[in-house]
Amino acid sequence: MSRLWNFTSGLFKSEIREFQVMFWSFIFPLILYFILTSVFGSFYGSDTQGVSFRVGIVREENLAGFGKIIDEVIEGISSESGPFVKKEYGSIDDALVDLREGRQDIVLVIPAGTNAKMTSALALKMGEVPLRVHYISGKESSTIASSIIEEVINEVNLEIERRGEGDFLNIVTETKVISAIEEKAFDYKEYIFPGVALMMILSVALFNSPIGLIQYRVSGVNKKLYTTPLRSLEYFAGHFFKLIITMLISLVLLYLVAAFVYRVGGSIFDIRFILTLLYSMIVAVSFGLMLASFSKKLSTVTVLGQTLYQIMMFLGGLYFPVFDLPWGIRWLVYALPTTYLVELSRRAMGYQFAPLSVGWLIAVPLIWTTFSLVVFAVNFKKVMGYE
């Protein structure tokens, strides 16, 4: 153990003294946090609003007669360009699963008995026709969609009264809260925190790690180390711990700035959020190892690392939502581990931006980690540069 610690501390000291490592790992994330918060903090003062909402329709009874009015209204407000994109469901359970997992913003249920209640209300000029709206409390798009539906229904009531010269119809919406996500105001400083943290993790994992490994191979340091009793496992454990220590120091600095300068609240101190960051570190480090195993030259790994870093940062949704991008590039969004990692962190903070379940958010990065480690293990000797 002392051998490992001795090696890790030597590696860490050697790398941390390099200005580039110091700047990109510790200083740049703080600068970026400052810039993004200054530029976009006021811009995103309130929640972002989408131009269209996804509504799931569940019919417990098919509408007939006067009930067709509701169908016409639904058709009228549903189109690809908004404000609603509808999807019909056979059962309330399926619709609610999609609502919980972010694939729908609200679910509108036409309850059994709606036809009879409409006929009765029109004939007797009294009574209510209730429709059920399920939405997720705390999710802005869901709350807004629910309010819009309510407004539309009110407009329908008024229109019927106007056209029917006194005909009475009181369609009402009963709202049902589906998910107990805590109500919270959108805070850009909080929103961007996991993005900047992940950017820092990526920069350490995609640059420090593979560049370091290849530099040590090319310069002959690895060769020298292999003549000593240091085992391969200890060598890589040393690298791993060095990276984790670098990331942790950087994170502590970021936390200090977020907490004391920007007064970011308790969600970043939530243990679930911290665990998502640790998970991100492991995924990113394994990705960096895979990168090293593909490259023989320092220039190749630098170009490869830079390209992947930019793609993962911008298409991974670290700084802005990416799920409305055209499908031409949205597939890339879904392929990147960072998309899932940053969403997982934000989910732990109480936000939801991606139409993905927590299971997927954990599974996809795990698949990437496994794949990366397997590729690395296969090419391991190439990385070390010995037979």
Binding site: G10, K13, K224, E387
Partner: protein, 305 residues
């Protein structure tokens, strides 16, 4: 009789069609300094890298100590010290920190300051390795090779690229190791280095051992008491008849050498022919043979060709 530390049998290593090491055999005894001499590409470095466990032989065996351990065993790694041909360390660690790091990798070690003193780097103790000169870096490499107080020390071309002063300084360090009765394997293409430092010499060429023995044994093997060297002035081709002489070797350009036990006869013949062919001789010298002559006699080439 001292114990055998390393025994090498029928060692072979191929890179594609190239036979880098082609069936060599030798052993190394405790406290002995063995120099492996040969031109670039002779297979010296490949040989020592197989001994150090850095490369796997395609054929043959390498056994360490009485226990007949392979080079990859942990015990061997604890007992050997390696200075590689090109020395590279963590750039942002100081000389002392580098030694401390490597000391931490072994079970037993020598204090860093003692090693720094041994290789005369006291004034560079706090200097980052990236700021060391070539000679200082080589001395650090030797110090790192000694951190575990090894039984066997490998020095792979330790003085290549160094200026004469740095080379002499490193020779002093190696001689000090010799006094401590360390077993040393030294590869070099400097004959003077091998002559000065080695107890026994192996000469390699094209992956094979072409000669072995002590310095005296090797020199005796070419059956020459003296070497006569001379140059021929002018630019016209030197006539073949002029050069038709037993044991004559072409050194380079218009320079030649003849190994002989009868200097007077050779000189007489040289002067007679120069008069007959109208040629002027240049730099005629008579000297005792050295390793370079052994190599030229055996291969027809200079060591550094």
């Amino acid at each position: 009789m001292s114990k055998t530390v390393i025994e090498v049998m029928n060692l072979r290593k191929y890179y594609g069609d190239t036979k880098a090491v082609d069936g060599i055999e030798f052993d190394l005894r405790e406290g002995e300094v063995l120099a492996i001499l040969g031109p670039n590409g002779a297979g010296k470095t490949t040989t020592v890298e197989m001994l150090e466990g850095l490369r796997k032989p395609d054929e043959g065996t390498i056994e360490y100590f009485e226990e007949r351990l392979p080079p990859s065993s942990e015990r061997v790694k604890e007992e050997i010290g390696v200075q590689l041909q090109s020395s590279s360390f963590f750039e942002y660690l100081s000389v002392k920190e580098t030694l401390d790091l490597f000391r931490g990798l072994y079970r037993k070690s020598i204090p860093s300051r003692d090693l720094i003193k041994e290789v005369s780097l006291e004034d560079k103790e706090k200097t980052y390795t990236k700021n060391l000169s070539g000679g200082q870096l080589q001395r650090l490499a030797v110090a790192v090779a000694l951190v575990n107080d090894p039984k066997v020390v490998f020095l792979d071309e330790p003085t290549t690229g160094l200026d004469p002063q740095a080379r002499r300084m490193l020779w002093e360090t190696i001689l000090a190791l010799k006094k401590k009765e360390k077993t040393i394997i030294l590869t070099t293409h400097y004959m003077e280095e091998a002559e000065r430092l080695a107890d026994r010499i192996i000469i390699m060429d094209y992956g094979k051992i072409i000669a072995r023995g002590t310095l005296d044994e090797l020199i005796d093997s070419i059956d020459a008491e003296n070497i006569v060297t001379f140059g021929v002035q002018g630019e016209d081709p030197v006539p073949g008849e002029f050069l038709d002489m037993e044991a004559l070797q072409h050194v380079e350009n218009r320079e030649y050498s003849v190994t002989t036990r009868d200097v007077e006869r050779i000189l007489g013949r040289l002067f007679e022919r120069s008069k007959r062919f109208g040629l002027l001789l240049d730099d005629v010298t008579i000297r005792k043979p050295n390793l370079e002559d052994v190599f030229i006699t055996l291969t027809g080439r200079k060591l550094r060709d």
